[in-house]
Symmetry: C2
Subunit: 326 residues, 2 copies
């Protein structure tokens, strides 16, 4: 049973919820063959596109439609934050069963609208179709002053390694969510972080504008998956002190460190700063904790350096859909 006569009606319903705000630079939005976009003079566009699929990235029975709407945009916008840019517009590709074009869609659009408002990011187009499972692909276009972008390849040995916020908290939230029967407790901090992640756009921009971070990425698959990617792109290694990791509360230290090393979906920023600039990194950026967790090294590979002097190689155990042992 479809709540819509046809695809055009569905597109109108989606567009209706999003006021036709003219984002600076958006010359033409929903309703034509394509959107027309122009970055500000002296600015480049940042482009990223992310999957958000039922059964892989969210579970219909565990994730409220409102959270699916919020999170599909927030996680894509996090890639823009990770370059030091600001999200501006987005394209939504949505495929769903006809039966979900009523209540589910309404709640989904509510969450998406709130995320779009919070990120100041305007819906500019996309594609809709029918499918058995809910499939989402979100493309976000951001903006950054030319030359300010912070990539993954700028790390130098001796740079101090930082992370924002708490690591492992979203994974802790997911575990709580999996255990929950019935109504989800949205007030639990870890559950909230899993359902409604907040991309660190303001921090990313601040680090980029002041040229404090020489290298940056967002932690989405887990530190043990993402830090080696940063190191590989920069041709360096790193060590991490697990005793320094900003771990989630309410869990035994040992388990919390494991969560912080391997848990996914945190969307915190991981960045490195030269020793000379490290004094400019505050303990808190607004209300967001910034923690030094290790250092960039010449030696390849990522080492876990414990305070008892023991060293072990950090093995990627974050989320990877193709890894055999998952």
């Amino acid at each position: 049973m479809s709540h819509f006569q046809d695809e055009d009606a569905l597109v109108r319903e989606i567009a209706r919820g999003f006021p036709r705000v003219r984002a600076d630079g958006l010359r033409l939005g929903i309703g034509d063959d394509a959107a027309l976009w122009k970055a500000k003079p002296g600015f480049a566009s940042i482009l990223t596109s992310d999957w958000f699929l039922e059964g892989s990235h969210f579970l219909r029975e565990k994730h409220p439609a409102d959270s699916v709407g919020w999170k599909c945009l927030a996680r894509a916008a996090s890639d823009i934050a990770a370059m030091g840019g600001a999200p501006r517009i987005f394209l939504l590709n949505l495929a769903l069963p006809a039966a979900d074009t009523g209540k589910w869609l309404k709640s989904f659009l509510g969450g998406l609208r709130r995320a779009a408002g919070s990120l100041d990011c305007v819906l500019a187009g996309g594609d809709t179709t029918r499918s058995k499972r809910i499939l989402i692909s979100v493309t976000v276009i951001g903006e950054i002053a030319e030359g300010q972008e912070v990539t993954r390849s700028g790390a130098h040995p001796g740079d101090l390694l930082y992370v924002s916020g708490t690591l492992g908290e979203a994974e802790q939230g997911l575990r709580l969510l999996r255990k929950t029967r019935g109504k989800v407790n949205h007030k639990n901090e870890a559950v909230r972080k899993h359902l409604y992640p907040e991309p660190r756009v303001a921090l990313g921009r601040w680090l980029a504008e002041r040229k404090l971070a020489g290298v940056m990425m967002d932690v989405s698959d887990g530190l043990s998956s993402d830090l080696p990617r940063l190191c590989a792109a920069s041709g360096v290694g790193a060590w991490v002190d697990p005793g320094n990791l900003p771990i989630p509360r309410g869990v035994a230290v040992e388990s919390a460190q494991q969560l912080a090393l391997h848990g996914g979906d945190d969307y915190e920023l991981l960045f490195a700063v030269s020793p000379r600039k490290a004094r400019e990194i505050p303990v808190k950026f607004h209300n967001l904790r910034l923690t030094q967790i290790g250092e960039i090294t010449t030696k390849r590979g990522v080492q876990i350096l414990r305070r008892d002097g023991s060293v072990e190689l950090l093995r990627a155990a974050g989320w990877d859909p193709f890894r055999e042992d998952k």
Copy 2:
């Protein structure tokens, strides 16, 4: 059985097939959090994102992987052509079963690479994950000189309505393909058009640069679905003479006209030209036929105007995933 150890290896395999050509304007491609893009001075970016899903947009047993690779990019690039722009870079979101990461993926990437080469469009990023069915979402970024873009909303009563190439041929090809058992005959013109559509980029640019077309879109869902969209966006109506439609060969005229009115997947350009400029529209643009099929009217709705003087309302019967009667 996965042919890859992990997602990073899959991304490397995809990237490997695409030489790291630096498209003009692509500052940073695959391998970072996001891509960095800057349109030429005086140019705006055109953005479009399209689904291409197994079971909806292609059938595993009928569509060779090579064609899936070609077509997923070509059809998205057609939206860029429809604005009068040139495709420049694209983002590929690909989800597939681990079992398809071998032979299927190789053939898919071959077709995608040929389309990218033919369209001069560079792979700049995307996202990969695992799924039961093959899911593709392609975002294409194009470029157009500011003010040259041709939208859907510029039609005026009295403008002459044109279409490029042949309408209904791709649908004819799909029907042949559905009937085929065993090896597909790629040499059949209609089958080729269905499997390997060629977006009309050169024509779209020519019409835009010379400001000949006041309104333009691509015919992807079928004339009976797409022409009403153009009319609605422009606040006008139109009539179409079915006797003038560029119909496919090898089919009885009556059936061929039905194919031309309702068949999808042609990716031809539909555009309107003021009577004053109509003399500048050639019968052929390079080897591509341009046919006047009707006229824009003040009266809303799209009328079928037969040569015996009979008039009927054109009812949308093109492809729509949400239409009840399909």
